[in-house]
């Protein structure tokens, strides 16, 4: 019980990020579970298949300078995969963190009530590693990329019976940045000896194509909502003749809510209506 209490406090601290001037914060915590397929020719020429799981934190807020039109999104996604080779006698683990911050311009479409679209740019940091235990000197393949990209979002607020529901589809795609890759047959030991040349590359969709798709539905029960949905990530890359491929498909379940912090002295509370970035 003590652990649950402490966890609740931590979540409560994270959820109501301070919002002033009628710009509530939409925060969501989700867990995801599904399947993944991984290939990395630095480790093995074989495709690996297995389970995928992850934790996701997402935060939306209208931006101060133009809250009607400008919204921002922070997303932190941590994943863990365990996959097997076709013979089932070797396991490859994947662990990674993908953090992005996006700023989007949004439109409310007059002819489709409840539908809002947004599009904009994002900055993304994706880091992680694959670990193949059967390999001796080359058991790990690291992944790291810092990119700028595009993201778009369509939300549709409707009702199922009396229950308010917000459905969202959001694709994201890095466009340009920098990423890490070892040389074709370079051991990490050689890097540890000091040979760091040629490890950083320009990343663009031709050598590192990434697309993330998120489809969620928030079933709003009062102040909080139950979030269910689909999350998919696809990476295909070829750098230094090393081909990597990663695809995950998962079901997400979480809790989301819209929160606003009030200054007890009342100085920061706007008299204008709240402008939600999400709902």
């Amino acid at each position: 019980m003590e652990t649950i209490r402490r966890l609740s406090v931590i979540i409560a601290m994270l959820l109501p990020i301070v919002a002033y001037g009628g710009r509530p914060v939409t925060s969501a915590f989700s867990i995801e579970a599904g399947a993944s397929r991984i290939s990395d020719t630095y480790l093995s020429p074989l495709p690996y298949h297995g389970w995928h799981t992850g934790l996701d934190y997402e935060r939306f807020q209208a931006m101060r300078h133009n809250p009607e039109r400008c919204i921002m999104r922070l997303n932190i996604n941590a994943t863990l995969d365990r996959t097997l080779n076709p013979a089932g006698n070797a396991a490859m683990w994947q662990a990674g963190v993908d953090a992005s911050w996006a700023m989007m311009w949004r439109w409310t479409l007059r002819w489709t009530p409840g539908l809002r679209v947004a599009a904009g740019g994002m900055a993304d940091l994706d880091a992680g590693a694959l670990y193949l235990s059967r390999n001796g000197n080359n058991p790990v393949s690291a992944r790291a990329a810092v990119t700028l990209g595009l993201t778009a979002m369509a939300t549709w607020s409707t009702r199922i019976g009396r229950l308010p529901v917000t459905v969202r589809y959001q694709p994201s795609m890095p466009i340009i940045g920098a990423c890490f890759s070892p040389a074709y047959g370079e051991l990490y030991y050689e890097m540890a000896l000091g040979n760091r040349s040629g490890l950083v590359h320009v990343a663009w969709p031709g050598n590192r194509f990434v697309i993330k798709n998120l489809l969620t539905a928030d079933l709003r029960f009062g102040a909080t909502a139950l979030r269910i949905g689909y999350s998919g990530k696809f990476i295909s890359g070829k750098i230094n003749d090393i081909v990597t491929r990663y695809a995950s498909h998962s079901v997400t379940v979480g809790v989301s809510g819209e929160w606003i912090s009030l200054d007890p002295r009342g100085r920061n509370r706007s008299s204008t209506p709240d402008i939600s970035a999400y709902y």
């Binding site: 020429p45 013979a87 059967r134 390999n135 795609m173 040389a183 047959g185 070829k238 491929r245």
Partner: protein, 343 residues
């Protein structure tokens, strides 16, 4: 104005998908155990990653012709293993193995065609009467001639800095030190650096390392020079004469240790030519679940020479184990090392 934006987005999407199609992965067979496919996978892995084709003058295409005709759809997995193992033996490489649930192939001729030159019991019984110290994988003691003796059987055993301090402090009064790495088949290169650091006082060039930059047989990086640093201040370093005792089974990381130590002025290499094994191995696998290990990165000595074929003893220090003397309880190689340090 909307149409151009939509066109750009559509073209970008199509171009990205088309570019992704260029990221080809190796094709996998419908039947993961198919003999011909697994043979081809093995040949291709070596073809694209092995680092010593040119040095060993191996025509890998000819090897394919020679062995692929021995593969048939009806053959058992064990029969396929034998054909694949024979193909790998063409590389004459102790770092190249095929691992299946029922067997691991191993090219043994690199040491089996040579005298073994080491009898562990001979030293333990007749020189120490089984009374020696052991710590962290190292056996050590003092010989009656006031010579320190350190036996390190494998670089797989992690060496603790404190352990090394105790070993060297115990031998501090000795006039010389023998490091016996006969039958040391290698292990971790980081242990090489740890041990070497006790015999140098300044950063010391250790050699070069080069890796494949692509699947072509001649696709190599420029050699990268690396060096070892002396042990930290406060650690015990050894500056008196040293003999490194080697045989043909001194291999891989142990071979690398010899290539670094032989350049130090106070060090002599005594014994027989080492086994080589200067290619740092990579691992890969076949669709039937077998693993393969092979030399992938070439480690060169400080003069840029490959030591894959082994390292000769210092001039005038080549000596084999005399079988007749061994019957009398004498290790002629160890005696040679002792006499060298007493001069």
């Amino acid at each position: 104005m909307r149409l151009p934006y939509l066109t750009i987005i559509a073209l970008t999407t199509i171009a990205s998908i088309a570019l992704t199609a260029c990221h080809d992965l190796p094709e996998m067979p419908d039947n993961p155990s198919d003999p011909a496919s697994n043979f081809d996978q093995l040949w291709t892995i070596l073809d694209e990653h092995y680092c010593f084709f040119a040095q060993k003058d191996v025509d890998w295409d000819e090897v394919y012709k020679l062995y692929s005709i021995r593969v048939s759809p009806e053959m058992s997995q064990e029969e396929l293993f034998d054909v694949c193992a024979a193909m790998l033996d063409e590389l004459q490489d102790g770092h190249t193995n095929l691992s299946a649930p029922f067997n691991t192939s191993y090219y043994r001729a690199w040491w089996s065609d040579y005298p073994q030159n080491y009898d562990q019991r001979l030293v333990e019984q007749h020189y120490f009467n089984f009374n020696y110290r052991s710590v962290g994988g190292i056996d050590y003691g003092m010989l009656p001639q006031n010579i320190g003796y350190v036996r390190y059987p494998s670089f797989s055993y992690a060496i603790g800095e404190s352990n090394l301090d105790y070993v060297l402090a115990y031998c501090a009064t000795a006039s010389g030190l023998i490091i016996d790495i006969r039958d040391n088949g290698g292990g971790s290169m980081s242990n090489v650096g740890t041990l070497v650091s006790r015999f140098i006082s300044t950063p010391t060039p250790a050699g070069y390392i080069m890796h494949k930059t692509g699947p072509g047989h001649d696709d190599f990086s420029e050699p990268f020079a690396y060096s070892y640093n002396p042990a930290a201040e406060g650690r015990i370093r050894w500056s008196k004469p040293v003999v490194v005792l080697v045989n043909r089974s001194t291999y891989s990381a142990a071979n690398n240790f010899v290539s670094v130590m032989r350049q130090l002025p106070q060090v002599s290499i005594v014994g027989a030519r080492t086994g080589g094994g200067s290619g740092m191995p990579f691992n890969s696998e076949l669709s039937n679940g077998w693993g393969v290990r092979f030399s992938a990165c070439s480690v060169l000595d400080t003069e840029g020479r490959s030591t894959e074929a082994g390292i000769d003893p210092s001039p005038g220090c080549a000596v084999d184990l005399d079988a007749m003397q061994a019957l009398e309880g004498r290790d002629s190689m160890l005696d040679f090392a002792i006499n060298l340090l007493l001069k």
